[in-house]
Structure formats: structure tokens, C-alpha cells
Symmetry: C2
Subunit: 230 residues, 2 copies
Amino acid sequence: MRGAASPLRRIPEATVARLPLYLRSLYELAAADVTTVSSERLADLCGVNAAKVRKDLSHLGSYGTRGVGYDVGVLLSQISRELGLNQDWSIAIVGLGNLGHALANYRGFGARGFRIVGLFDADPTRIGEVIGGVRVCHVDDLRVVAARSPIAIGIIAVPAPVAQQVADRLVDAGVVSILNFAPAVIAVPDHVSLRKVDLSIELQILSFYSQRHGASGAGPGDAPAGEATA
Amino acid sequence: MRGAASPLRRIPEATVARLPLYLRSLYELAAADVTTVSSERLADLCGVNAAKVRKDLSHLGSYGTRGVGYDVGVLLSQISRELGLNQDWSIAIVGLGNLGHALANYRGFGARGFRIVGLFDADPTRIGEVIGGVRVCHVDDLRVVAARSPIAIGIIAVPAPVAQQVADRLVDAGVVSILNFAPAVIAVPDHVSLRKVDLSIELQILSFYSQRHGASGAGPGDAPAGEATA
DNA sequence: GCATGTGAATAGATTCACAGCG
DNA sequence: CGCTGTGAATCTATTCACATGC
């Protein structure tokens, strides 16, 4: 019962997170007219371990040929299907400050089936502006706009203090996937997928490892390495 | 042997990645004049499990009081120190397209000890432009500029095809931490820390879960749910 | 022969559950 | 009594190593 092929097996989260990586390398291989690839080659291209590639791919089914490798075209279409990239996904961006603006102008969404269909902001002076062919609407109209043409993925690019209420509005408008760029923890119902991108967290993690590992080319001027490690 | 306090224990990677999260909530608590916090409260604020908080914090040493909780100020300073946030970190951004530009204009770096000291691009028309008080230099001058005032963290915001060579130049200039925004796998020597932020990967992961879970408010027009799951 | 696919081994992270202490 | 700190149990992910099949 259920749909044709894919979503019967349970695919580990870690694997899902790597599939897009494989996909990208496969596109490059295809563009270079390479028709077959081994797990080892693909692993190299993606900066991972070959056994990991094989185990990951085995979760989608057995699409390799022993002694030969994987057919690039077949893998491409299997992974695309698995990731749901056969269909288009509509995106809305909320918050058009520095970052939101940059995202809205980013070409490369459309390239792979992600289409920006809505731009929203709370600042009246921004309403009506057209970015990348899409008109900026007031965030109060989110629900109405979403009712006309559904939004699959909402991108939050507002300041931290209003991130939660924007998330609430997105959920209220029927959005089931959210990508949060605001430096704030937000809560969503179980049926909504949430991922976050947090610049300052990334920098702090790097800071941690810089401090330990290479205490070399570190500080700028003030506090070179006062209580350094090495 | 070795420095005063912190870096003797081995702190799990997963824990390191959460420390900045705790830190942020602690700043908010401190700003609200809260002096004590329980693992459960902190866990709520960060959207994680209370046992996880306790175990994470235990890796830094025992700074809690049984029956009471943790002192906000003490935790703040312990985590800050552990993450290396007592010192300032110098940042260079390479690539000043949409994204690089947005990052360069982003206030909030400086707030927590991250200071943009260099901006680099390969496009001659952008050289000399001043963004956020910093002059854009040619990427060929990276090494020279870095020699004058060392760069701790390099941010790559160039198109994928040139990401690797930019990484090489950063490493060559003595940078030991790199944050890569380009949708490309890059390789760096062992002594360099590398983290990545990849928008299109995040979207594809969300696509995967949208497809499975809520097959509700999905497609926009073309391919609504052709071979849908539910 | 060669590279996949996979059980088994290992490592790592999360969660449980409770002893221990303020 | 309440909350921390932590061993033990569980779950997840990675890696190994080799039988399997083209």
C-alpha cells in the first residue's frame, strides 16, 4: 500500500542530511559526462568516508552494480525523488533586512525547484518594493496570501525578538517547514519541520576550536592569547 | 602543567555546539536580573532536554548547587571562557556579493567579540568600497594584509567554483578557522577548523521532511503532489 | 577481480533514574 | 525536599571487514 517507491524505509537523519551533498557531486559528475561512480570516488568528492556513502545509499535501495559502481543518472534521480525534488517548493521570506534582502536576490533557489513566491516585512516603507520580481507584502497579509497560493517553506530573517511570533504566523498560515536565520530558539508544533542557521553560533564554535587547537594566528590586538592553551 | 582552568577535559562536539545556545539564554536571563537558573528552566529556554543540559555543563566542571540550580553569572563566565570569548576574534570576509555584503553590514558581530578586520573580493570594481567602516581589498592582497594584522576566522562567501582556492589562500595566510557559505565541499589541512552553512542543503532537507510528514500545504502550481505519499 | 551491500564491532550522543548534597 | 551530577541503559551513527555477485 501507499505510494510507488520511496518512503517505506526509515532513512536515518544523518543520511538525509548527506543526500543533498551527494546530489550536488552527482550533478557535477553528470555535467562532466561521467556515467559511473564508485562509492570511494563519490566519498572523496563529498569529503566523507566511502563506507558511509555505501550505507547511506543502501537505505534508498540497491542501485549500485558490484564490481562497477553506481550509475550517475540513476542515483541522481533516486536521490532527487527521495528528497522530494521532483516537485517545486514554494518559499516565503519574512524579514527583508540585510539578510532577507540578500536571500531574496539570491539566484540559485530557482535552479533546483525552490521558488520564492512571497516576501513579507513589517516595515511599511518596505511594502510594495519589488525584489527579484516579487512584491513585498505586509506580514499581516501572510495568511491571506498563503491562502491564495500555499507556502511550503518559510524563511525567517527577522530580528530575534520577533522570530517566535513570525514562526507562529507562518504555522498559522499552513507552512509546514521553517528555516530560521534569527538568533533565537523558536518552538513549533510537531507537524512542522524546523531547521536553523545561526551565524553567531557557528562563529562561537570556531572560536572554541581556535582557542584549543591552533593558538597560532589568533587575536587581533587587544587580547592576543592571555591564558592560552599551548 | 598547562593553563589555569578550562581545557583539560575533553568536551564532546555535540556539547560544544550547544554551549553558545546556553550562553545566549543566560545573557537574556542576566539582562532580566535573574540570578539563578535550574537545568530544567535553561533547557526549556533552549529547546532541549534537562538531562542534556546537566551533562553538558558537567563537562565544564561542577558549577551548580544541588537543590538550587546554577548561578547565571558564574555560568556565563565559565561558558564564555570555555568558548574562548574572553578575547576578541578577527574576521575576514572573502566575496562581497549579495551574501558577503549582507554579512559585512551585519551589526551583531562586534557585539560579542567578533570583529571584521578585512574584506576581500576579486572584482576590481568593488575594491576600495567601504562597508561598515572597512575598505574592500583585492583578494590577492590577503596574505599581505593578514601578515600585518592576523586573521583568526575567514568567511567564504564566493561562488562555489572558486571556494577551494579562496580556502587555500586563507590557509596560506595563516587563518585557522573557516566558515564556508559557498555550496561546495572544500578541503583544509588538519590544523584548520572548518564549518559550513549551506542554504540549499537546508532547503533540501526540509523538502525531504515536507514530502513525508505534512503532505499538506505543499506545491505551488506545477507539480502539486503527483506521486504523493498520503 | 573489484566494488557493492551488510552484519558485526565500535564509537558517540541521548536519556533514564537515582544517589548525594545543599 | 529539590536539583545537581553521574553511572548505566539506550539509541543513533560510524567504521570495519568480508561475503556476495556482477
